[in-house]
């Protein structure tokens, strides 16, 4: 009984979508609810889940292809079919961290997130029940234990197979179970249970729910546990969060405070930018035909986890251009330009709840494209999860704002002081385009540069954008 995995309708107004990447390979065993692919709806990149159990027989659509709703994208065969030896683990499922908020505002990423595939870090435990059900644990050797002890173990959420029996014949006694329960800090990540309210509370309080010790049945994390964890966390973070310098945002304090605090910080910073910095703007439209062709080819050979998206290539080209045009990479301090020692590329990411952060990819000019992709993926995931590292908040030398996934064609941005330039990236759109005297339809993107006229002139900005353009025409060299 074969089934087709089709392009879903992810909104009333959606008639087609672009396959960004496959999260499964041919031969993978998938279960209903497993993420299959990332689809770009023109509004956001969304992980699409399988409606069926089965084995992926054929992937019918290549990443990058735009297909109509209802088009078969993959064929699933019956689950009983001979499965591959070791089904590759599919990309991590999106954990419903704060489903309410997500349902209202899906994927509020304002950044190079672009098509943000598999945004959860790979370490994120998968806690949805259906995923647990999907992978029955291998039947372990059971230690002998009497029914009452078994029952007691079940009540305490203790796995009998992990308990050493001290009773007659290695029998597990009630005392053994109690000891195991006491010794256990928390159940294995894969078995974590978190109540919906606790999960929401953790999100609001900025608590990492994976670090919380659960006291509910079976080690379930409940609201009290999160609140208990939040108090020391807030105390710990407090001194760190009070930088005198207007950092773009403090990533650690509880969300309500974070949102308000960060809005104040942004207000101060942007007010200062527009008061002090005489902005100039230059813009160009870049043909991404070669890039998308090349990405399609190269992604075919890449494992799912290492596939590349255009946003990463744009960052990579920007980093190289910043090295080539160092006058735009640095700071305006005390009335003069101080060049950055290296290229630390800030990536503006808007986080759920509003606060905008621009963590840096350090030494971006020295990272190859796959590494840039990896850093971007990681950074966006952690920014959204509120787990940025402090070092990443240290000042970038140049910032990129990509609002392409929000449907914006052009971003004319405000420079983050004391930086002297900001690169704006719009959405990749198909447009009639003249190439070699012929008219064709090409994917193009609008790039802008906001420059500090005190530090550089428009011609510098023009040279910078031209460099990016040139680099993007030879994507294989990125």
């Amino acid at each position: 009984m074969a089934a087709d995995f089709t392009m879903p309708s992810l909104g009333a107004d959606m008639d087609a979508g672009t396959l960004v990447e496959w999260l499964v390979h041919e031969g993978d065993v998938v279960h209903r609810g497993d993420p299959m692919a990332v689809v770009d709806t023109d509004k956001s990149a969304i992980e699409v889940e399988s409606f069926d159990d089965g084995v992926v027989q054929t992937l019918l659509v290549e990443p990058g292809a735009r297909v109509a709703v209802g088009t078969p994208m993959a064929r699933l065969g019956p689950a009983e079919a001979p499965a591959p030896v070791a089904p590759a683990p599919v990309a991590p499922a999106e954990v419903p961290a704060a489903p309410a908020a997500e349902a209202e505002a899906p994927a509020p990423v304002a950044a190079a997130a672009g098509p943000a595939p598999a945004v959860q870090p790979a370490t994120e435990p998968v806690t949805t029940p259906r995923r647990r059900a999907a992978r029955p644990p291998a039947r372990p050797r059971a230690h002998p234990a009497s029914p009452p002890v078994r029952h007691h173990a079940a009540e305490l959420g203790v796995d009998l197979t992990s308990v050493d029996g001290t009773g007659a014949g290695g029998r597990v006694t009630r005392a053994d179970v109690d000891r195991a329960a006491a010794a256990r800090h928390r159940p294995p990540a894969a078995a974590r249970r978190v109540s919906p309210y606790a999960r929401r509370l953790a999100e609001e309080l900025g608590v990492d729910v994976d670090q919380v010790v659960g006291t509910g049945p079976g080690g379930a994390v409940r609201a009290d546990d999160v609140q208990a964890a939040a108090v020391p966390a807030a105390r710990r973070e407090a001194p760190e969060v009070a930088p005198a310098e207007p950092a773009p945002a403090a990533p650690t304090p509880p969300a309500p405070a974070r949102a308000a605090g960060s809005r104040d910080a942004i207000a101060a910073l942007m007010g200062r930018a527009k008061r002090e910095i005489p902005h100039y703007y230059v813009a160009t439209t870049v043909d991404l035909g070669p890039l998308t062709d090349w990405l399609r080819r190269t992604n075919r050979e890449r494992p799912v986890a290492e596939r590349l998206v255009p946003a990463a290539a744009l960052l990579r080209a920007t980093a190289l251009a910043a090295r080539a045009v160092p006058e735009l990479n640095g700071f305006w301090v005390d009335g003069r330009f101080v060049p950055g020692e290296d290229v630390h590329l800030g990536v503006a990411v808007s986080v759920r709840g509003g606060p905008l952060v621009a963590p840096a990819i350090h030494g971006a000019a020295d990272l190859d494209l796959p590494t840039t992709m990896q850093r971007l993926r990681d950074l966006v995931a952690r920014a959204r999860a509120g787990r940025l590292r402090r070092a990443e908040m240290a000042e970038p030398t140049l910032t990129v704002t990509d609002l392409g996934d929000q449907g914006v064609e052009e971003v004319i941005g405000v420079i983050y002081p004391p930086q002297v330039a900001l690169v704006g990236v719009g959405r990749v759109v198909e447009r009639p385009w003249a190439v070699d005297g012929m008219l064709g339809v090409r994917p193009v993107v609008r790039l802008t540069l906001s420059g500090d006229h005190r530090a550089t002139d428009g011609s510098t900005g023009a040279r910078f954008l031209a460099t990016i353009d040139r680099l993007l025409q030879h994507p294989e060299e990125l």
């Binding site: 704060a98 489903p99 309410a100 109540s195 919906p196 309210y197 606790a198 999960r199 929401r200 006291t215 509910g216 049945p217 379930a220 409940r222 609201a223 009290d224």
Partner: protein, 340 residues
């Protein structure tokens, strides 16, 4: 029979309140309806000469005469149908069915006629009928007289289903139900008739749409109605002894359910236990639990618990009957499980 003191004329109390029972409050409500509106009449098995199977209408035949308090043959379908006809013709019948088990004989009239006529006539025909019946177990009346099927009726669009659990509601719900242009089913739990309570002398009509918070608490919401309200309140007393503040909701109206009040309580306490004397599978408790999950999922700090009757026909033997019914210690245990 008429010499019995039936509370027909409550002795005025100096304080302005009167000691009464659930049974007397129901009777006083009937008396008021019969007195104030000459379109109102009561009919059912043994409601006249015998004074009602549970003595609710004791003395009303003597007071209002056989035109207004009518004994019927043992034919639920017949006299409920007659009630529907009388309501269509402009009267305000109150039909008593002895127990909810027997109401199944009239289910065709209730579901296919009373509940549908307003809709099928495009609102031209209204059936302002009130059907009272006894529900619930606990009195060793065995499986054919003890079930709690009000949840079945709560499934039916076109009717309202109410369940007075207090003396005040027993006194005040009937009039409001009679004023409703559509059929209202009023369920009286058999164990409540002897319950005593204090009413203001001028106790009057009450709404029949909203749930009531009978006890405030912050740790867990116990959702109950009718006979289970008092078990939930008793459980809340026990829980208070161990520092758990349970909020007790009395649904009062089983159809429509007061989603707003339920959700407001669960959003406050983050935990819920539904106590229902009906069976668990496909019952009213399932509906309440589902709605809590639909509306409050992200406020829940644990699964919704249910305490219901065992899935057996209610037994006759007292110890078995009690074992089959939701009990206070079960409610306490469920609340402790969710509070942790």
């Amino acid at each position: 029979m008429t010499t019995l003191s039936t509370g027909a004329t409550p002795v005025p109390a100096a304080t302005g309140t009167v000691e009464t029972t659930y049974r007397e409050a129901l009777r006083e409500a009937l008396r008021e309806a019969l007195r104030e509106d000459d379109r109102v009449f009561l009919m059912g098995e043994d409601v006249g000469m015998y004074g009602g199977c549970f003595a609710v209408s004791l003395g009303l035949l003597e007071e209002f005469g056989p035109e207004r308090v009518r004994d019927t043959p043992l034919s639920e379908s017949g006299f409920v149908g007659a009630g529907i006809g009388a309501a269509l013709a402009g009267l305000r019948p109150v039909v008593e069915i002895m127990t909810v088990n027997f109401s199944l004989l009239a289910l065709d009239q209730i579901l296919n006629n009373a509940a549908t006529l307003s809709h099928m006539s495009g609102g031209q025909l209204h059936v302002p009928l009130v059907i009272r019946m006894t529900t619930g177990a606990g009195r060793q009346l065995a499986a054919q007289h003890s079930h709690s099927l009000e949840g079945w009726y709560a499934h039916i669009p076109g009717i309202k289903v109410i369940a007075p659990a207090t003396v005040e509601d027993a006194r005040g719900m009937l009039w409001t139900a009679l004023e409703d242009p559509d059929p209202v089913l009023l369920f009286e739990h058999g164990t409540l008739y002897t319950m005593t309570g204090t009413l203001p002398r001028d106790a009057g009509h009450v709404d029949i749409t909203r749930a009531a918070v009978r006890r405030e608490g912050r740790d867990v919401t116990l959702v109950s109605y009718g006979g289970t309200l008092h078990k939930a309140l008793a459980a809340a007393d026990v829980l208070a002894g161990s520092g758990v503040a349970a909020e007790v909701l009395d649904l009062r109206s089983l159809r429509p359910l007061d989603d707003a009040t339920i959700a407001a309580s669960v959003r406050k306490t983050h935990r819920a236990v539904v106590v229902d004397e009906g069976w668990r599978s496909g019952g009213l408790s399932a509906e309440v639990s589902a709605r809590i999950t639909e509306q409050c999922f992200y406020d829940l700090d644990g699964p919704v618990e249910r305490v219901c009757s065992a899935e057996v026909p209610i037994p006759y033997a007292q110890h078995l009957e009690q074992a089959a019914l939701p009990q206070v210690d079960q409610v306490v245990a469920a609340a402790r499980r969710v509070v942790g």
